[in-house]
């Protein structure tokens, strides 16, 4: 059958169409998303920018191919890098999965169609990222990440906060810039890519 999913509106159409989302085109997109997540950080370093950019690929795949493909791309990023580079990335596959899922849902419901909407999406993605990561950081890693931001956690602890709340507060300070910039980047990039290279899903998620 041809590679189209008829657009349906209303209800929870995207749950019904899970298997339809996973066309060969979508499968080919996932390694790209994973690769971009890894390279994003490298590029941010080269340009000496104070952001991680390590979920830009996940958001992009979510926007281009929908929530399920985005979720898988996010999840697999951490599985692959966790197994091959650094096993401490493995637990955070839940975060990456959530980001892909949410980015996809936001995109499908039209929240990546204009500049201000993308800002809102960025904020929502930040919240999701923080809320899913914080428990992982606390229960698996004892509240630290090995980055300089741990000092901020220390400050909150010193001023009497509990661990989970310290980690949450720190994340809400540190994450928004990265996630909002990543969301905007995904938006600009997805628009610069002509329609013929986008999966059919993207035709309903992006302005044209």
């Amino acid at each position: 059958m041809a590679d189209t999913t008829p657009n349906r509106a209303g209800g929870l159409p995207f749950i019904r169409s899970i298997s339809e989302d996973f066309t060969t085109r979508a499968w080919v997109l996932i390694p790209i998303g994973i690769g971009i997540n890894v390279v994003g950080g490298y590029i941010a370093q080269v340009l000496r920018l104070p952001i991680f950019l390590d979920v830009i690929g996940t958001i992009l795949v979510g926007v281009l191919a929908g929530p399920w493909v985005g979720a898988l791309a996010g999840f697999l990023t951490n599985i692959v890098t966790g197994l091959v580079v650094n096993p401490t990335l493995l637990p955070y596959s839940a975060t990456n999965l959530a980001i892909g899922l949410v980015a996809g849902i936001l995109a499908v419901t039209g929240w990546f169609k204009s500049y201000w909407k993308v800002a809102v999406s960025g904020i929502i993605i930040t919240i999701v990222a923080v809320v899913v990561s914080a428990p992982i950081t606390v229960f698996v890693f004892g509240g630290v990440t090995g980055h300089g931001t741990d000092l901020i956690v220390g400050y909150f602890l010193a001023t009497g906060n509990q661990l989970l709340s310290s980690v949450l507060k720190t994340s809400f300070i540190v994450e928004p810039i990265d996630k909002i910039i990543s969301s905007y980047l995904a938006f600009f990039i997805a628009r610069a890519i002509p329609a013929r290279y986008r999966p059919p899903k993207a035709r309903q998620t992006l302005p044209e």
Partner: protein, 571 residues
């Protein structure tokens, strides 16, 4: 009944409504034939291939009308995997069509067989058989991504052959390869054809295609406009002015027929030998002297634009890519030739400081490249890379072209003028508002070159500009080079295209194993065929014909050849 029958097919891609990719195409392809397909860019050649393989309509959305029947079954009703067993498709980019999940060539070739669920022994047998057939069994343990382009294409063909298709469909399989790789591919395809495979090949390399194919189709605007026996088709194309990259012998032969030195009805020559024989006949009949005029370009005196002094370079301290190269380049068009791995790209990257020499130094307009950033040196030397997709990122051609000027910090009015001029020179006015990635590869190359022109640098370096271009594109690039040289710029062209070099170079430098093999005017460089052979460079056809005829000095282009024989070019 023919193996493939296409009846009155029209197709429009859903992603590009309003553009008829195929506009009433009908043809029949017989079992065991070798059909060549050619034509300008965007003529519908790839769409035709996708039609035969069933990708249209199964994998590409769009409106399809007409019937396509492959081996008795209409493609609409047969699933793609099944058609894949009959039609083996080989794509243009050797590396993109690799699965990306294989670590050895053997795994890559076995991939399709694994998907078919064949027993292990059968998979092994067929895979090894295919590899042996393609002459790559010695590469079985190698990583497919780390092969040369020519080797990789042969791996792709082997992977496809493992499924035992009857038809081999190749879409521009050699346009991204160097001459050595291209030769390997053509040779193996010919061998497969001789063993009974039906071959359909799309290519701009008419020099080879017209010799091997027994039938040639020319497409334009979504239709087949010419078809028949290759020599005949080329003749008709020349007669109707259809833009094709004509093999030099055919172009020369055509002119001979135009002045009635040779009867029009005689089939056009396709090889150097055939063309030489025809001219010999003409010379004996009429007799002429050769007077080839060598236009000398005035070089600018003073400090050379680019100077290399004893430059050596090793990648990672290991691979010696350049060995004690000393050169000076002043003005005019300098063509750098040599096989892959000879150091062309390494040399090119030294010109704008992307690479700094391991020893020796490079002076660009008096500045040592080791002391400056690439962004600074870009003011002097603008470099257009081979792959435009490494550079394009803006949402319109016009804004992309302006990027170069913006980086240079030119004031808006000046930038505008530069942009307009660049758009003109590369004939991009009609597409100025389109997205670069919406255009075909040859167009994207032009956009990338245009964006580099707006940097208004005195030195322009072009990396394989004519690769994959159609006739119109090549002509345009030639005119561009002449124009830039006329403005007094130094234009450095790194290329495999000897015909282009013969036409436009004021100076040719051949590299081999990191050293300068030959350096001089094109005529003297190309005349040394045995030396050039060491770096796998063939002299231009006109020169080879001239050698056979014993002409002196040797002609570089068909025009010079004909003038030498006393025949002025018609039209």
């Amino acid at each position: 009944m023919s193996l493939i029958e296409i009846a009155d097919v029209a197709f429009t891609y859903a992603a590009q409504p309003g553009v008829r990719a195929l506009d009433g195409v009908s043809c029949a392809i017989e079992r065991g034939s070798f059909v060549g397909i050619t034509g300008p860019a965007d003529a519908g050649k790839t769409s035709l291939c996708r039609l035969i393989a069933g990708y249209i309509p199964h994998l590409f959305d769009g409106e399809l009308s007409g019937e396509v029947v492959v081996d008795g079954a209409p493609t609409r009703r047969v699933p793609v995997e099944e058609l894949a067993g009959k039609v083996g498709y080989v794509f243009e980019n050797p590396f993109d069509q690799l699965t990306g999940a294989s670590l050895t060539v053997l795994e890559e070739v076995a991939f399709a067989l694994e998907n078919m669920g064949l027993p292990r022994e059968e998979i092994e047998r067929r895979a090894w058989e295919s590899m042996r057939l393609m002459g790559i069994d010695h590469l079985a343990d190698r990583h497919p991504m780390r092969l040369s382009g020519g080797q990789s294409q042969r791996v792709a063909i082997a992977s496809v052959l493992a499924m035992r298709p009857e038809i081999l469909l190749l879409d521009e399989p050699t346009s991204q390869l160097d001459p050595v790789g291209a030769e390997e591919v053509f040779e193996t395809v010919l061998r497969l054809h001789q063993q009974g495979l039906t071959v359909i090949m799309v290519s701009q390399d008419l020099e080879r295609l017209s010799r091997y194919a027994d039938r040639l189709l020319v497409m334009r605007g979504g239709r087949i406009v010419l078809e028949g026996e290759p020599r005949e088709v080329l003749g008709r194309a020349l007669a109707s002015g259809l833009p094709l990259v004509m093999p030099v012998p055919a172009a020369v032969g055509w002119q001979l027929r135009q002045v009635e030195a040779v009867p029009v009805s005689r089939p056009l020559p396709l090889t150097v030998e055939e063309a030489a024989a025809e001219i010999e006949g003409v010379l004996q009949a009429g007799g002429s002297d050769l007077r080839a005029v060598d236009p000398v370009r005035e070089g600018r005196s003073g400090e050379p634009q680019v100077r290399l002094e004893g430059v050596s370079f090793s990648y990672g301290g290991q691979v010696r890519a350049l060995e004690d190269v000393s050169l000076e380049m002043d003005a005019g068009c300098v063509c750098i030739l040599g096989q892959n791995g000879s150091g062309k790209t390494t040399l090119m990257k030294h010109l704008n400081g992307l690479l700094k020499p391991s020893s020796g130094r490079v002076l660009v307009r008096g500045e040592d490249t080791r002391d400056h950033r690439v962004a600074h040196l870009a003011r002097h030397v603008a470099l257009a890379f081979q792959n435009p997709d490494d550079q394009l990122f803006r949402s319109s051609v016009e804004r992309e072209v302006r990027f170069g000027a913006e980086n240079m910090g030119f004031p808006p009015e000046e930038a505008e003028k530069l942009v307009e001029r660049a758009l003109d020179l590369l004939q991009l006015r009609d597409v100025r508002h389109r997205k670069p990635y919406d255009l075909g590869l040859s167009w994207r190359k032009r956009v990338a070159i245009a964006s580099v022109l707006t940097m208004a640098s005195p030195v322009v370096v072009l990396d394989e500009p004519t690769g994959g271009q159609d006739a119109e594109g090549i002509q345009l690039l030639g005119a561009l080079v002449e124009h830039l040289v006329g403005e007094g710029k130094l234009v450095v062209v790194v290329t495999h295209d000897v015909e282009f070099a013969a036409e436009h170079a004021d100076r040719a430098i051949a590299l081999h194993a990191g050293r300068v093999l030959l350096d001089g005017g094109p005529r003297e460089v190309f005349a040394q065929a045995e030396v050039l052979a060491r770096t796998h460079v063939h002299p231009p056809a006109a020169l080879l014909i001239g050698q056979r005829l014993g002409l002196a000095p040797l002609p570089l282009t068909p025009q010079e050849l004909l003038a030498a024989v006393g025949i002025a070019r018609q039209r």
